[in-house]
Amino acid sequence: MSTVVRLVGCACWLLLLGGLMLSQAEARELRIGVLVFQNKDVAAKEWQDLNVYLNHLRPDVLFRILPLGKDELKRAVQDGQIDFMLANPAVYIRYQRYHGLSSPLVTVMHCYDEKSLHGFGVSIFCRADRADIQCFADLREKRFAVPYHLSFGTAIVQHEMLLNDLPEVRPEHLVEVGFPQQNTIWAVLQGQADFGFARAGLLEQMAANGKLDLDQLRILNRQPFADYPFLVSSHLFPEWPLAALRHVSLDDQCWLTAALLQWRQADHCRRPFSLHGFRTPADYTVVEEVMRKLRFPPFDSTPDVRTSDLWTLYRSQILVLLVLSAAIFALGLYLYLSRLQLNRIRRELQSSNKKLEQLATVDGLTGVGNRRSFDEASKRLWASAQRNRTLLGLLMVDIDFFKAYNDALGHQQGDWCLQQVAQLLGRACKRPDDLIARYGGEEFAILLPQASLDDCRHIARHIQAQLAERAIPHPCSEVSPSVTLSIGCHSQLPGVDGQLDEFILTADRRLYVAKNKGRNRICWDEREEA
């Protein structure tokens, strides 16, 4: 009998044990990932009471609160290894964008000295012995110790700098020291960076534990919060939200929300930022605004800006810019038009100068060079012949009995005669460098570079022949019925000490010889006659 009873008893135990094991095996697990920056064991201890409370409240579900570092939390959310996430607002907003988390279900509440804390901020500090950093404005161009350049605390400090009209800290001035946040304090104290930050309350906590002497640090940009128990240097932001991952059922979300809202920590909040409980979700718009302003991920792409936005924001600047642009355009146009006008005037001036030059060097009646052009050309050609050691020829030409011609036929006819002779001379001297000039009255001079006396004589004969052929009637000539010329020829190789005046005088003298010997002849030597 007793054996039977024992067997039945054993069977019952086995059934009970099996049942228990079965129920344990079927128990679902819900994991809450909590972002931690400090020692995980300490964090696990802090969340232990809540973990026990949740498991007690709902035995069919195994709740596990997992303290996770920054990278661990990221992986856990990416791979769906957790069901709920509790992290700072910036991480929540980032992951909500990237991984589609739920809206905030609840917001965590902290307390200190039996008093609820509303929001959190950061303390910004430098070493107390830094004489060059007395106020917030002195942080310009200083090295900034941060645990991680994209941490929310970094964003909070950068935001404060913008509000104080300071530029954002440049990337090369960021000194990344990693978590926990205490590292920033050591970095500043050891001179690796000029200033740093810590969550408000951390300095007081370390001081209370004897790990830090607060007199070593100077708190900058202190806020006028009479009702906040810690030194704060920044605006305050809503506490951390808890959100569900996409795969979590609505029932589980609702149940956990209700359970958390009813839970209060039994602890008496003696430590700064003791976990106190949860409240209905806070409004995180202000956090999003800060992240957008600083272009922190996920708002690091260029925002969609409309033209109307630019107009609304920068109306006065745009107006000033437009007016200045219009002024610059008007001045530019004025300069362009002035330049066109100047070019036109320059062309006209050049043309006028050319005419003036022509008027100054050309004889108005005959169109050949005047006395001035002869003087200039003779000097130039004389110098050239001197330099090149070449011959220079000169013909002095005079119209015979021209006064009588004028008296008999009138000045009009006399002018015409002069023009005819000049044309004839021009045709006879074809080389570009030959120069024909009206030397005075009815006298012409012809400069012939590189012409020997023979060449001069030849040209003179050619001129006389041409004139004879032309046969301009001359009723008063004593030597011919038509107009004739007396010509003095001279050619010389100008020596180093040769004189131009002497050269011209020689040709002139020969002309007079030609005239004295009866006119209508060529003289190339005072002693001879052609």
Binding site: H118, G119, F120, G121, L163, Q223, P224, F225, A226, D227, Y228, H235, L236, F237, P238, E239, A282, D283, T285, V286, T312, S316, L319, V320, V323, L324, A326, A327, A330, L331, Y334, S338
Partner: protein, 321 residues
């Protein structure tokens, strides 16, 4: 001649730009009186946060509503934050004022407290009621007595400014008190509320009133001010912890007290202002007539009340950021 024309145009352009710059920078800022009341602190917060352009707006801190009224009367300020009934009183005295913004409406912040032995409004008959000698006090009194079927002759009144209400209560000179939040711990411990402004919604309104004769010259400043007010209001309504912590020292209260008072106020948003900031709106018209009747009954207003140019919604932002 052409050069001269171009130089003249350039000269005129420079003059134009200088005039615009002068217009933007050299304008005298609008001076607005603000006394410590939670409903008006959005403007003080805007100033603290650097949202107000000091070249356009300057806030003048006053100790009380009566000091703000005095400065308006003497023309020392261009406008002031005050209650709507104060605006009507000042207009009645010949100060030209126009309301450009509804700040907040009391929804329980103004109340009638009584000692524990008085459990109904009717029991106030023959009792002494302490109150501030203000239109607001008279309004609450009139509405409370009307609800109980009593008249002003049925009660004794003891006038004292709100800062002395605590002392008045402790001395036991009054059986009931018409006051506003926050009340001291002593009073709240030994009293209970018989009537509050929650029962007369949108009657007790705090407004920004500006001298009507200066409205045109102050237009850019007022538009700028109202835009910033609505931006800050958004933060206030979001229970932003930073805003609460900044409000607390301004009012000499704790954050919890600020939160508590905020639940007894409604803050009309932009849309509500756009709808109600004109005398044609039926609700505004009805509330205004009711307020005027109470004030006339208390001989605070004459028989003829001109409401022309009393409300102006043209300074409200057209777009809300």
């Amino acid at each position: 001649m052409r050069v001269r024309s171009v130089l003249l145009i350039c000269f005129l352009l420079i003059i134009g730009v200088s005039l615009v710059a002068w217009n933007l920078s050299g304008r005298t800022p609008a001076r607005l009186a603000i006394h410590p009341w939670i409903g008006y602190q959005s403007l003080t917060l805007c100033e603290q946060e650097g949202l107000l352009d000091a070249r356009q707006v300057r806030l003048v801190s006053t100790a009380s509503a009566s000091e703000s009224s005095r400065m308006l009367r003497e023309g020392l300020v261009d406008g002031a934050a005050m209650t709507l009934d104060d605006v009507l009183s000042l207009r009645n005295d010949g100060v030209p004022l126009t309301v450009v913004l509804f700040f907040d409406a009391s929804a329980g912040a103004d109340l009638l407290l009584a000692r524990p032995d008085i459990s109904t409004l009717a029991q106030l008959k023959g009792r002494t009621i302490g109150m501030e000698d203000s239109t607001l006090g008279r309004l609450i009194l009139a509405e409370a007595l009307a609800q109980a079927g009593l008249t002003a002759q049925d009660v004794r009144l003891c006038y004292e400014i709100v800062f002395h209400h605590d002392e008045l209560w402790r001395q036991g000179n009054v059986d009931a008190l018409i006051t506003y939040l926050p009340v001291s711990d002593d009073i709240s411990r030994e009293s209970h509320c018989l009537f509050d402004s929650h029962q007369i919604p949108n009657m007790v309104l705090d407004v920004l009133a500006v001298r009507s004769d200066r409205l045109d010259s102050l237009r850019p400043a007022l538009e700028h001010l109202l835009e910033q007010h609505f931006y800050m209001l958004n933060r206030l309504l979001a229970d932003n912890p930073d805003t609460l912590h900044r409000l607390a020292p301004l009012l000499g209260l704790s954050v919890e007290q600020v939160q508590s008072v905020l639940t007894k106020l409604t803050f009309p948003g932009l849309e509500w202002n756009q709808n109600h900031l004109n005398t044609e709106n039926p609700e505004t018209k009805a509330n205004l007539n009711r307020l005027i009747r109470v004030m006339q009954h208390s001989a605070l207003l004459g028989q003829r009340v001109d409401t022309a140019q009393l409300l102006d919604d043209s300074f409200l932002p057209r777009t809300f950021r």
